[in-house]
Assembly symmetry: C2
Homo-oligomer: 894 residues x 2
């Protein structure tokens, strides 16, 4: 095990070993780009650190020293030197970029001695003391865990005393005093003197970076982004010679993207600050200048930047996210990594880079994250409606999309309300990594400070959540729980709307509209559709959803839930009337009304889906689900009783009686689906008749290319399916005889009961198709009640890593998946060409889609707005399979 790589050693391709940052620095060095000398401690050392009960391996620091000495040779500077001291940054970096999640320390090597050396060498004592101040603060925060606030107070006091606005306006003397106060804070906190020995500082810093890997922020981030140990196991630590963007007005620090990450446009995008360190940009403390300003102000640097960008893109074949520093006119690259982009940006760059012949079509597809497409399928502000609203203020549009929600100024409150399901817009002056949980809980983010590369902007874009930053004329009164723009006030809890595409903030809720697909999006979708092998259908219960599904590329409807049709406002009373019917005759009369309504629904959907299969599921939920809640009824009855008897009381009592008769201890496993179909056959008869009649009527209208499929839910044994099939065949024959039309309808079953999977060979003899209901199947395989666990023990299970991820979001391949494979193999043993699909929410989850492809399913069915995601995922898995080179088996020549 080689614990340390100097930047001119090894390969920058091994991100898992070197972390993204280290790999980038090594690769840039190999490309001959100007990178300050340095070295990377591998992620393996991090693992050893944790295995070793959180102690650095004994042989590490001697090796570090050797590498420091190599830097000293290259730079002519010396660690701890009074003359020309070497300063380094200590940077974290895992295989997967986790922006802002782990810690970095700058200016390490400074102490009361070397600061004088630095002042001398740079001939800029103010700079030296400013660097020292920054170092002590970062060190105190990162290594000792001291709250930033304590340092900030000292700084703010000093600025007030000096009567200045900006940090860089502070005098040398003032900085000296600040350093002294900072060190007192540290000593008070630790009870020890501040470490003066640079190697001692370095060892502590390396350890702190390792520790930050298991810090709460980082752990939450990895959970949310499903970064498992297999993907990234620990952080590397890069130790890099400090270069300074704050060494005067010929010094610059900047962060840029080689292409615009908001929309993918081929133009450099980012900000820079003159006479500043990188921290100032990222933290959003000073609002930086847009990179375009550099064309005029620093044309030579701009040219160098342009060339560098081109070189990096050609090499990495990905848009890059670069940190650079100009120290007294000399250009340095401090970091490069694949640019995090929103979906629009990724799609445009995929299409563009293909045109530029940078990448192949396969790569254009494979580099996209299907889940991210969701961003493009989000709503935007309805411009027509927006006309009635005057914007309150305007900031920098940092992440596109529109959202309305209650303005909340407190992070904890935002989390709490968000988790309760309240739509929240988080409004802050600026955000920090520890605020990320609130991002997850909010529908949008609004800050008064920062630029396009500030923390808030980067994180929100990554999540695809609308975000506006740098809203300078907005003042936030935290204690008063309000925001002010001039004389206008928005109090906590008032609804605001933000438009992340324009930067406009509105008071009140503005309606939003469905997103329109860009040409690039359509191009990608077209490629994906051709590449994929798996069929993609949509879950759609209404004609609107069916239309959207076709626009999004669905090849049919995999799940049309007939009960959702009953939930419409005009139908629910009729359905309830049916449930309350005292006799079969009475019930049949009410069902007649529903039959006509359902028939028209089916006709409409079949018409829209002409040419494609439409799978209609017969009634699934238990009947009591349509009745009023028992507790509410009891309370209502008590209230009505106290007022004396009334008709309403009698009616409520009747409802209560029926609801109690139908009530179940475990409705999930109760009297529903085919069980209702068998015990109240008149309900399924009505639905089957409506489907058959719809098909017959459309055929008589010369709409011939329709493919209705009747699907029976909750089947657990073949006799159930047989029972319903007989009913179906009778009705079908009847309608064929009446209409003289031969109906082409398939009859099949859900596989959502475990027993159905285990006996699918028997079912395959009766069914013409299968469709896995993985929502219910997941419940049954885990014995988890979805309605309960997500609000009870499941979050704790995920937190304690008992379950890696919510199995209702991503298919549990080990449990549910293996049961599915049993069912597929038994089913196809009877009918090799059996159509087997999956409906349920997993159909729109990329990883589940990939599992379904590998398991040999015919199609997945996803909710309409997730159809493009499923298509892309299906294309990727088809490519991944293609791109595996088949192994040649040795020693088996014939």
């Amino acid at each position: 095990m080689k614990p340390i790589y100097f930047f001119d050693e090894g390969s920058g391709r091994n991100k898992k070993l070197l972390g993204g940052k280290g790999a980038g620095l090594i690769e840039m060095t190999r490309l001959g780009l100007p990178v300050p000398p340095g070295f990377t401690i591998t992620t393996e050392v991090c693992t050893v650190y944790y295995d070793n009960n959180k102690k650095l391996p004994r042989n590490l620091m001697p090796q570090v020293k050797k590498n420091i000495q190599k830097i000293e040779r290259k730079t002519g500077k010396e660690f701890g030197s009074l003359q020309n001291p070497l300063l380094v940054s200590v940077r974290s970096g895992a295989a997967i970029s986790m922006p802002g999640m782990m810690d970095t320390i700058l200016n390490l090597g400074l102490n009361d001695q070397t600061v004088i050396g630095l002042a001398d060498a740079s001939k800029n004592p103010r700079f030296a003391w400013d660097s020292y101040r920054r170092f002590v603060q970062l060190f105190g925060k990162v290594v000792f865990g001291i709250d930033d606030k304590q340092f900030d107070e000292v700084l703010q006091n000093a600025k007030r005393q000096q009567n200045v606005q900006q940090d860089h306006e502070l005098s040398e003397q003032s900085l000296r005093e600040i350093v002294s106060e900072y060190k007192s804070i540290c000593q008070q906190y630790t009870g020890k003197l501040f470490p003066e020995d640079p190697y001692n500082q370095l060892a502590l810093a390396i350890e702190a970076v390792f520790k930050s890997w298991m810090g709460e922020r980082a752990v939450v981030y990895r959970e949310k982004y499903k970064i498992t140990k297999e993907i990234a196991n620990g952080t590397a630590v890069s130790v890099v010679t400090m270069v300074f963007g704050n060494m005067g007005n010929d010094s610059v620090t900047g962060v840029i993207f080689t292409r615009n990450p908001s929309d993918g446009t081929r133009q450099i995008f980012g900000d820079y600050l003159v006479n500043a360190q990188g921290e100032d940009v990222v933290a959003g403390i000073r609002t930086p200048q847009p990179i375009d300003a550099m064309i005029k102000e620093l044309p030579a640097t701009y040219q160098q930047l342009m060339k560098t960008c081109e070189k990096l893109e050609k090499h990495f074949k990905e848009p890059q996210d670069i940190e650079f520093t100009v120290e007294k006119g000399r250009f340095y690259l401090l970091q490069t990594r694949a640019a995090k982009m929103n979906a629009a940006g990724m799609i445009k760059t995929s299409v563009d880079m293909l045109k530029e012949r940078l990448i192949s079509k396969e790569r254009a597809i494979l580099r996209l994250n299907p889940e991210d497409l969701d961003q493009l399928l989000h709503n935007t502000i309805d411009n027509e409606a927006a006309k009635n609203f005057n914007s309150l203020t305007k900031g920098i549009p940092a992440s596109p999309g529109a959202a309305s929600g209650k303005a909340i100024f407190d992070v904890k409150k935002a989390i709490q309300m968000g988790e309760e399901g309240v739509k929240v817009i988080l409004v802050r002056e600026e955000t920090k990594p520890e605020d990320v949980p609130a991002f997850f809980a909010s529908v949008g983010i609004l800050t008064s400070r920062g630029g396009k590369t500030s923390h808030a902007a980067v994180v929100a874009r990554g999540m695809g959540k609308p975000c506006i930053v740098g809203c300078n004329d907005m003042r936030i009164d935290y204690p008063g729980k309000k925001l002010l723009v001039d004389s206008k006030v928005v109090s906590e809890g008032e609804v605001i709307t933000i438009d992340g595409s324009t930067g406009k903030v509105y008071v009140g809720e503005i309606p939003t509209v469905e997103p329109k697909l860009t040409d690039d999006f359509k191009t990608i979708l077209g490629w994906a559709q051709k590449l994929k092998k798996l069929g993609i259908r949509a879950n759609a219960d209404t004609s609107q959803a069916a239309k959207l599904a076709r626009i999004y590329g669905a090849e049919g409807i995999g799940l049309c839930r007939t009960e959702r049709m009953f939930n419409a406002r005009d139908r629910l009373p009729v359905f309830v009337e049916m449930i309350m019917a005292k006799t079969v005759t009475e019930r049949k009369e009410v069902l007649e009304k529903l039959r006509l309504l359902q028939k028209e629904d089916f006709k409409e959907i079949l018409r829209i889906m002409e040419g494609y299969h439409v799978t209609i599921r017969l009634l699934d939920p238990p009947l009591h689900e349509f009745l009023p809640n028992i507790e509410e009824l009891i309370n209502k009855i008590h209230l009505l009783e106290s007022k004396g008897s009334s008709d309403e009381l009698t009616a409520s009592q009747r409802f209560l009686q029926r609801a109690k008769d139908l009530a179940e201890v475990n409705p999930m496993m109760g009297h529903r689906g085919v069980r209702v179909g068998i015990t109240y056959p008149e309900i399924y008869e009505m639905q089957i008749r409506a489907i058959c009649e719809a098909a017959a009527e459309l055929t008589s209208e010369n709409i011939n290319n329709i493919h209705p499929q009747i699907m029976v839910p909750q089947v657990g044994s073949v006799s159930e399916l047989d029972y319903i099939k007989k009913i179906y065949q009778n009705i079908k024959s009847d309608i064929e005889a009446r209409s003289g039309i031969k109906l082409k309808i398939n009859f099949g079953t859900m596989l959502e009961v475990v027993r159905a999977c285990l006996t699918s060979d028997e079912l395959a003899k009766v069914a013409e198709f299968f469709s896995f209901g993985t929502n219910d199947l997941t419940q049954a395989v885990f014995s988890f009640s979805r309605e309960d666990v997500e609000g009870k023990f499941l979050p704790e299970y995920i937190e304690k890593e008992i379950i890696k991820e919510n199995p209702f979001e991503s298919l549990d391949s080990k449990g549910v998946g293996s049961l599915m494979q049993i069912a597929i193999s038994k089913g196809r043993s009877v009918k090799p060409d059996l159509e087997i699909g999956i409906c349920g929410e997993h159909g729109g989850d990329p990883r589940s889609v990939k599992f379904c492809h590998k398991a040999g399913l015919t199609y997945v069915s996803a909710s309409s707005h997730r159809v493009p995601i499923a298509i892309l995922a299906a294309a990727q898995v088809a490519l991944e399979k293609q791109m595996k080179i088949p192994k040649t088996r040795p020693g088996h020549k014939k």
Copy 2:
């Protein structure tokens, strides 16, 4: 297909083809025993009849005619003859005896002409007209479906007019008039003349017998006794020459068992009637004489009977149930079949017949029905307590065992109350086959008429339910809803106690005592224990149950449910206090109290089970199960509110709040078992500590041969088990360190979540044993909530044959069983010798036990009182496997 077998054709071994009755008659004919000539129409014809839309096959009646002609040749009588008419009985008989469930017609061949021939030939016109009367009544009832009441009224009127008590006291003239009135009833009912042609009568009778196969009584009986189509598919019809037990005082009819069916004693047991037909005995209309009376009254017949019994037992190697008739001194056998005996009888005869060298030990075991042992494990009256009660009356003890219940005189009411869970004693003058459903619903049966072979007695014995018959001094006033014994009155709903072993009836509830095992029982159990391969353990939660388990032969405890310990009256408040605790600290304090109680419980049980494994399951049910019902709380709060505020109101509101917090939509799949153990670790910690401490303390008391096993419920993934195992290991180490005792405890998991079965290879790495929880597994595999389905759609499912039998009673081998096999094979792939058991109610179901043996389980665990049943079933399946002759594979010589 040969549709008809004459009694001297074919083999009497083929019961499936010939039915039990036909096969018996054929076999007896082959043995040279005196059987009246006749023939049997096969069960295959019955199947054809149903396949043929309930029409007799065309070629049947011509074949019947040929066989009738053969009878005519043998008897010298002639069908329809005016001189010497042949009369036949038409009898049902399926492969499995279903006593009284199907129809029989006697004296067929009589009409207005032949009756005169019969009168002449028998020189007994009264007899001829009495036979004709019986024939018309039976024909009217069976073929036309006319209610018996109509005929009874005519008969009772005639007896009143003639001023006689008994049927046989009626004069010829009176009988002529009765026949005429009977025929009017038939004509009025059918609108046609009564059929006079004997062949026409015969065809109608054969069809009526076939029809009775699907009669409601027969269908219910087959369902209850699980007689599937594979076991018996239709009834055969035997047509037998009539012989007459009512031809004067030298004629007799009787029904006997070759051994006493109540206790198995080797003595002829039964009744006979002089000058009567068999119907009179079975229907209990006349109280017959016990068979012993025959020794004096008809010594020659008695001798013939004894010899016949011996011959039949030697041939069939089973005690027989025989119908015989003596016609004018000539002895005839009309039926033989294996005697239905209660469990005590079966066990004694098994032991006796082995001693008599009639059967082998294997046959002695295999002939027993394990389920029947349940009868012997029923309670009997506590004689000490009975001293305080004077018996109300005494009848004939017809089925042993004691029971207390509400006296109910109406069949429907008994069914209704029984299904509601009320203990009911059915009290009737006599019972009929259509009353059988009430038998199922009652805990005991009491009749005022009939003998030991009356309907009530036979059925009750078959069910192992206490029964007293022939309680002559008891008068039942149906309209007045009361019974009277002299001046004493018992009204409907009053509790009575019957002792089926003594025949005594008591008013009030007398305590009962656990049954004691007879020596024969112990002998059988001993053989079975040696023969079986499968381990048998008990589900026992208390020291009482553990003691009983050992007496019954259990080899350890497979399931000790710790939560049942919390349900004790003195503990529930403490447990509720724990649930209501506001902090972890508070909860831990309460748990301390419970720990001490549980530790003592464990010590006691481990002590009783010294030498055996004791598997203790950690808390399983969700916490809300221990709190008051929400609806009741709401109603209580409304009540308390109307009275104004109070402490009780506050307490109730607190309970309601907590109950609501904990409430779940589907508690079955909710926050329970290991999920509670992980989220409230202090509960499992307490239980694990109590187990470890109990083991340590017993060891320090020099009780060393103890084998506690800790079992975790509801496990679905290996991480859950890992999590609890760590807790367990810490506690174990702690107690080992404190006590200086090395604890031998196994740690294992339930397999009751589907996912556990699918990932059992992973679990096997962490668990030292598995135990299937087939109750929960059945729920999950079917998605059936046991608490709901049994009261909702499951009965309808079983009725509609969608499910063959309740999967909660007998293991569903196709679904649940195949999942178990997956789990066993995956688990053993990791640990080949892994202990795998099953706990849950299936452990006491013989068929499930047999499945478990075949699936290779280590043991089954059954509730204590079903342990002997499991032992016997396990021995049988071991024998069944042994007795299969291994196939020699042809063409594979080496």
